[in-house]
Every structure is written in C-alpha cells, then in structure tokens.
Symmetry: C2
Subunit: 238 residues, 2 copies
DNA sequence: ATCACTAAATGAATGGCATTCATTTATTAG
DNA sequence: CTAATAAATGAATGCCATTCATTTAGTGAT
C-alpha cells in the first residue's frame, strides 16, 4: 500500500484516477464494461504461460495472473470458474505443441517414438499439470481431443483392433506422465547417503549407472521403456 | 471463537483448565515438557494415515493433524520441518506395504508382476503423494530404500547387467506412477461430449472399449503395458 | 539438592491463498 | 430511450502453513 490513494470508497464519480499499485502501463478503467473486454480465454492462457515461464507454478496465483493482465483478481472469475480451469486452459494449449506429425507419415513405430518423446518433453516442463490432466474429462479440452484423434487414427491405420486402441494409448500415456517427473528429479535422487552400506545391490547399481554418464539417466530409462512398449504393444496389431 | 474463554493472555499460573475447543478425551497439559513426549514420527504417521483414510488428502492439514493428536498445530514443527515431511513419512510407510516377496521366490517375470501390481494398487489410493515421491531423495526414506534394495537384488540375480538395473526399475516405476492416476480417473474421462462427431476414430475406439466391459479399463491398460515392459526389459538380461 | 539446559509444548500472530459478493457502468438489443 | 447484460471493481471471508516468544517438565552434572 504505497500511499493510501483514497480510492473513492464505494466508487464515487471520481472517474479517471491512474492505476495506483505498480502495474506498468498506466490508465485503467475504474469499473464497468470496457469498450472491448480486457479478458478472454486466449489472453488468460498466454498470461498464465508467461507467468509460469517466469516464476514457475508456485508463482501462478490468481492474484499474480490478474496483475499480469492488469485487472483485479475477481475479474478472472467472469471467465473461468476456478484456478483449475486456468490449468485446463494451459494444458490444452500445451497439447497442441505435442508432435503428432509422424502419424500418417512413416511407420507406426516411428510415429509413436516422435509422439512419445515430444509429449514427455512438453510435460516435463509442466509436471504440476499432470495430476490435473490425468483426471481431466477430455470434453472441454479440444486440442487434447484433437491429439487423441490423430493418434487413434494412426493406430487404426497401423492395424490395431479398435477395442485395444484406447488401452494401448493409456498405457503409453501413463508411462509418459511418469517419465516426465523423472526429467525434473534431482541428480542425486538415488543417493542412499548413510544407508548405502545397508543396500549394497542398489548402491552398486546406482554407481555403475552414473559411471557411464553421457546420456541423461532419465532419457536412458525413457528410451528403454518406450522401446519395450513399442515392441510389446505393436504385437497387438492384427 | 466460542465464548472468548480468557485463556490467560501470556499464560498466567492458571494451571489445569480442561481443553476448551472440541478435542475428545479431556485434560491436556498446558505447556512445557510432558512426562512422555506426545509426538513422534510413528504417531504422526499413524494420525496422518487415519486422517487421509477418513477425510482424504484435502482433509490432511496441519491443523487437522494436530487436532487428531490432541496437540497444537505448532507442536508438530518440533518433529517435522514442514508438511512435506509429513507426506514423506506417509510415503515411506506405504513403501513397506508394497509386495516384494516375489523376488527370490519364483521367476523374475512373476516377481515383477507381483511387485508392480501391488505398487500400483498402494499408490492408486495415494496419488497426491506421487509428485512428492517422484522427486524424493531416497536418503531419508528407509523403507523405500529397502524396497529398491530387494528389487535390485532380484534384477541382479535374474542376470541383468548392473548398469541397466536402475534404468529398468525407473522405467517400470514411471509406468506404475502414471498408471496409479488412471485408477482414480472418472469412468467418463474419455467422453468427447459435443465434439464426438469431430473425432470419429477416437470416439469409436472409446465406444468399443466400453462395449466389452468386464475388466476395469485401468486394469486392462496396466496389464497390457506391464506385460510389454516385462518382455522388453527382460530381453536385457545377459 | 540444586541448577542450568533442553526438548516439547502453547497460542497468538503473519502473510498468502482462492473464492464470493454487492456494486458499478459501458455497451448493446429492442 | 430504456432495460438488460457483460465485465469490471474492491472489500470481505475463511482456510492454510508457518513462525515466534514464551512456558515448563524432566535430565544430567555438580
């Protein structure tokens, strides 16, 4: 509270006072319907993404988001019902970044490879969304739905029996989500510390993994699992 | 604030007043060191688990946990540094529930099957822990470490090259964590709603899955992926 | 026995958070 | 011209984790 700018109690006729707090640009409307709406889903999504990029998910609060948009926090609730809705907007935006171009182009195996790696990479940057996505009814996430449609089409074209397609995709997705967390895990996550002597097999395994350390451990594990899934699931084709 | 019970400002000599608010049993010490400590890790863990079981993770607040233990919220901070620490205690307790008995008994494949299904089942009931586990340094989670030791030993005995063991376990774990979310997903998660006509392949696939609906979809997907991983990863053995 | 120390409790802040609500007003439809 | 509405405001509300000064009961050393 900089200087108690006497903001007109319950809005007199005071008109144009420049915005007080600290928002950059300057003059803001005091209330009422503006000539063009300040907020919409696209703007909220973009602001949320910028905020996430700058401050991370801890910095994504409704207040910060409102500040970014030069608007009062409560104004957001004219456009989204809850913070969860904001996360859904972000999620659906990200779904469009996943590379599904392989389906319809090369082999099914290569298409899955491209899709899975890019899917993991996108959400490794956004792990706080994973608990949301995992339980998200796809209904109100059109881009996400579009991704599923392309992938399903690819599986169908590759000869998968229709009733196995969703299960196969879910299995891959589960692996992808879990693997996204790995990417963000600290390097020393498997350091047993003082208990190392009590866990000889595990400690040795961790050490010998670290020994040959050109590729990132998370990438090695992901590659290993993904190839296994591609081979195993591919066998379901008719 | 029930009736402003005049709680003795900064603690007079008031002695024995029975606990006011609503805690059941009755007389509680007013301050100072009790004859035996009221709190320890085991008690906190047990209380947290009971609370989670009764109210879910939303009900697990430091205040509720303290109430459960008939203690002031701030007292918890003599034993844990943060709420995250409480979640770690819970996680480590759950790790001990995972069935690793297969390792050292039957085949490697069966051991992995038993382990993976039980691991998934345990954490499907506790998905809010997954983001915590996934980044958890194992150091201060002895039961979790014990699980890894047993599993590593099983892989080694089955002929896995040492430097592949951690990667293989991580791949399986990633799949398990991702799959744990599926179990809790709503049945209609893949209902495309009004957009169904725009996503014909996907919609058809969802429908044909639902058609043959004896087994839970999450279980079908998990079984499919797990068998693929077992086959694929098993091929790494020397 | 006494005394200093310390572990373990208290309860009263603190600051941040999402969300709600009565109110205001510019624009638009009739 | 007027009534309705969409979209903003800012002031609560209630919940949350966490901090802090303070108190006190045991414990170990002298």
């Amino acid at each position: 509270m900089p200087a108690a700018a006497a903001p007109g109690t319950t809005a007199g006729t005071a008109g144009t006072s420049t915005d007080s707090t600290d928002a950059s640009k300057g003059v803001r409307r005091r209330a009422g319907r503006p000539s063009a709406a300040l907020l919409d889903h696209a703007g909220i999504t973009a602001a949320a993404l910028e905020l996430i990029g700058r401050k991370g998910y801890d910095g994504l609060t409704m207040a910060a988001l409102a500040r970014q948009l030069d608007v009062a926090p409560s104004a957001l609730y004219n456009h989204v019902a809850s913070k969860r809705d904001v996360l859904l907007l972000v999620e659906d935006h990200l779904a469009a970044l996943v590379d599904v171009s392989g389906f319809g182009a090369g082999s099914w195996e290569d298409a899955v490879r491209t899709w899975a790696w890019s899917y993991r990479d996108v959400f490794a940057q956004h792990t706080p969304l994973i608990p949301v996505i995992a339980v998200l009814p796809v209904t109100d996430a059109p881009q996400t739905l579009a991704m599923y449609e392309t992938v399903s089409g690819g599986f169908l074209a590759a000869g998968f029996p229709e009733e196995r397609i969703v299960s196969a995709i879910v299995a891959l997705e589960s692996f992808i989500f879990g693997s996204a967390y790995d990417v963000t895990a600290p390097a020393d996550i498997f350091d047993a510390g003082s208990m190392a002597s009590a866990t000889p097999h595990f400690t040795a395994a961790v050490r010998s993994l670290a020994a040959r350390g050109d590729e990132r451990p998370a990438d090695v594990a992901f590659g290993l699992g993904l190839e296994a899934l591609i081979t195993g699931l591919g066998a379901l084709r008719g």
